[in-house]
Symmetry: D2
Subunit: 327 residues, 4 copies
């Protein structure tokens, strides 16, 4: 094993709050260990096009508090081709880069895995996505911030819901994972939470809303995960409820891209800092083809092949708590 | 003129941040002047149904910072009927209420005006709406808070826009008034702002986006007022842009009801406090059929008939500034 | 063991964001299990004075998002006396209360323990304090919110620090625990972090500041834990630095009580909800004299005697990360 | 009069949120009018040292939402000397700069005035200070943001005040002007507000606190302006109250420098944008030795000599409203 002297970093896929904090930590860990560091713009696309820039400890100042990623991100079609990856490898060789840190989600790690196999080039990954749908880490970078963004938005919507005795359907992100919906739903005091891991069905939702109306609730928030089957047509769901529960005026809000942005929470900044340092540590130990995650508050590493299996388990205790406290 | 001894207050129409601060100010001004005060729940509906509650200075503590209206609001069909209004009048008589303060928008004032004419009952109004579309006041209660909510949301969206070189269309509220779109658009650094008072047309928008792309902009935010003609079908607009400006990936976010809620800004709290006190002052001076507003930082009153004319003038200087700073 | 039918709840000691969410969860869990619930105002003081109120599921609506504790809190001298505790016990008997949930910190648990021993009355506790200084739980209720409050405040201070090339000393809470300082310091990108668990000494701080100045840093934030020895006289520390590092203008900010308030973060709301349900679950299982905490994301219980030992261990990996990323 | 071709801009004195938005507007207005623009770092100090940088429309992207000033600020001793100012003038000549925009407070304008007299060099100013203590403008850039920061901080403190039945003294900025204290005090629902323009005296404060305690208030917030006589020793004031009003536990919070930072409010961003464009407009009209302000929502200009007179008038109606609503 050759110890790396020059490490490159890129962000790929959907952006997430805390990516800048992670980049900063990687760069500063390089400085700390007397390694050179290089930023690659626009993810794998910039890797193929050679859009590189030397970074040092001062290049990453005053970014820990900023959402998005200053290295920008993209989804690259060309990186799916052998030719694209070959170009990418040549660029790394020409710049004397010995190892790569990629921040992104399962698509990013899958791409990296192919590249490692082809070129035996050391890569470690960091889980950067608001969806918390990665295996091998308790939290992904950006998830905690997204939860706070959703809860703050629903707090605002509840002001109106309370003032008018209305029912609001609020669609939140998360792809196939219900983590954002379930946790933000509990945090926002939602009456019902629709997640892809369960299949409540429209009838049970109606019954439940009807019951909570009778128990004296005058307004309601239903949080709907974008991946949930009955939530996928949220405007249709609103119509269905209005037709079947006459007493309610139903409104829909799709929270959308505000969930991906914003200044990261303290948790995400600390997590990103720990994982960024952990990535450099792992490369120095000779690790490759792994994602650095956090399990039980310890930095750990897991093969990419494990990470991309996804995390579709939902905490049964959380579902039980959600049921109890929305009574 | 009979000096009122007991004043009732209600909130009507869409809720707006600062309504609670206004209620608090009315109630405390009553206490200050040794008048009794009564809260009426659910606007004109509660007025018809006799849903009244005595309030004193302590009843309104710890509400100045809360969005929505604790008296709740509604749109009442029954108040549009003579019979409904007759019931309302009887309730006021039975409770020995001498005067009424209504907080709402033009619909609220129109209803109040009819009632005054029929029963010669003293009513003054306060402009409570995020839309800033009322004549006779420089600011409506809730407008400043809504501007901050929109700007904070777009700041988050810009994180993603910047990270991905995308174009975002962001729809904001305001009914027929472009005030929210224009001011929040400037505040959020939008590249283009579509408001109902202008009629940019799709072609000019395309040209402008194309120009700004050439000038080196890699991402763009277009703020679209819900009342704007070409914005009314915002998803259609997105498709049109994607078809005609290939280089852009276009995303749509409809901000929706988060704009109506939230803890009021300092400006809205102070404004609501001044106008609430001003309403009681006006009733004590024997005024009726007027809205209390703020013009050039002075509390003032204007007949309801003037207020409901709406405010469709847009500040030409602001449009010029928007053009210049989005260069 | 007798299964409780009526459970009381109180908050004691310093308030923390999320206490309301915890109260709500206890009350709703009682409703869920068909138990009665009673709120006790002003902690042990209200327990002694019989300041009780029946609560049901609707009594705790719209409080999950509010800081502080609507049951109010206090530190009770009288509860330290046998006579005071005897009164308290009689009140519980008279109201047919079978068990008690107390939310607070180590002082609260110590008091509860004495009471349990004297009267064999079932009590479980929840860790409610921003300081995260309780043994037997990874997180205390309110801690995550306080971290975000501190980080947001320092983000603002950094705007000024950057604009003027200044050094700011920022004092944060935490009593004898450095958790807030260390985590918020990392999150805020602090150059140095002074915590009671380490003993940096003034000389090492000077050296370090001097070094970071030479490495090109033009402004600095030093986060100082209120429990740190050299930080205890923070104005004296400022003077010492100014005298020894001429190039710096040093400013001090003591963040103070803003750290205890504010709308709880999503994490704190979910944690409080889980622990609140967990407290009722534990009482139904016959547990007493224990605190309900969270370890490795599982709700768990630990004897009060363990909890009050305090948590003075600091994560060595975090200290290492802090050193690396502030390079 | 010579029409300027190249305009420089600097920020001076204490920083304020919105300064970046103002710089951006000046630079983009220059682009719009085909003028060159130059940024001067660190205020008059950088002017003397020749710390200049060419700016174009893209140099100022993504700064409208950031607190502080990216051009940095300072207080320059050397600019008070003839020699310093001579160097400054030479630098401007050497760079072919025709006119200057300075953003700051009264000290900045006073310095600019002297420079104009000596070298007949065109300068216009923009009011950038959170204190709102400048004559000739209804609002200074940064003031509205500071009000929101203060109100949000006191909302948090009130959580604790309510939970514990405490009295909090909260010191806010504003130098000799009570604008921040009075408006934020009203907005935060303070029981008493101490401002330098009034002189309440300790005895009247005591009486008033005593009265509000009797009227059923269980907690209190007193907002104290840093310039107020009896507030100047705020810890002494706390002791005085505790000694004379036994029932209260009194706590002090000095909000400090968080008030100067933070992302600007929508109002401040729009104001800064309008004034920044207005500054370039004024220079193109041949104006000099004036400050651009906003009066009754119109951009206007006023001689520096007027602006620096300060604005010590306090709105009597606001004081009356504060008295009424704190009943």
């Amino acid at each position: 094993m050759k110890i790396p002297k020059k490490i490159a970093i890129l962000t790929s896929g959907g952006d997430a709050p805390g990516m800048n904090a992670a980049i900063r930590a990687v760069v500063r860990a390089c400085t700390y260990y007397n390694l050179e560091s290089v930023g690659i713009y626009r993810g794998f696309e910039g890797l193929i096009e050679g859009d590189f820039k030397e970074l040092d400890a001062r290049s990453v100042k005053n970014i820990i508090n900023r959402g998005g990623t200053f290295l920008k991100s993209s989804r690259s079609e060309e990186f799916r081709t052998e030719e694209g990856r070959k170009k990418a490898f040549n660029n790394l060789q020409n710049e004397n880069i010995d190892a790569l840190v990629v921040i992104g989600g399962d698509g990013t790690f899958a791409g990296a895995s192919v590249f490692i196999k082809e070129f035996n080039f050391p890569i470690v990954g960091l889980p950067g996505t608001i969806d918390n749908d990665i295996n091998g880490t308790d939290y992904t970078i950006g998830y905690d911030t997204a939860l706070n963004t959703v809860v703050e938005a629903i707090d605002k919507i509840r002001d109106t819901a309370n003032s008018h005795n209305r029912l609001f359907l609020v669609e939140v992100m998360g792809r196939d994972a219900g983590d954002i919906a379930l946790n933000a739903g509990i945090g926002a005091g939602a009456e019902e939470i629709l997640i892809p891991e369960q299949n409540m069905g429209r009838e049970r939702l109606l019954e439940s809303l009807s019951r909570s109306k009778k128990s004296g609730k005058t307004s309601s928030i239903v949080v709907v995960s974008e991946g949930d089957q009955i939530g996928k047509n949220i405007f249709g769901l609103a119509k269905y409820i209005e037709e079947n529960l006459k007493e309610y005026e139903v409104k829909v809000t799709v929270l959308g891209h505000i969930q991906r942005g914003g200044s990261p929470s303290c948790y995400d900044r600390v997590l990103a800092s720990r994982l960024g340092v952990g990535a450099v540590d792992a490369l120095l130990r000779g690790e490759t083809n792994v994602m650095i995650g956090i399990i039980h508050n310890k930095v750990t590493s897991v093969p990419f092949s494990e990470a991309i299996k996804g995390n579709n388990e939902i905490d049964e205790d959380l579902i039980r708590v959600a049921d109890i406290i929305s009574i």
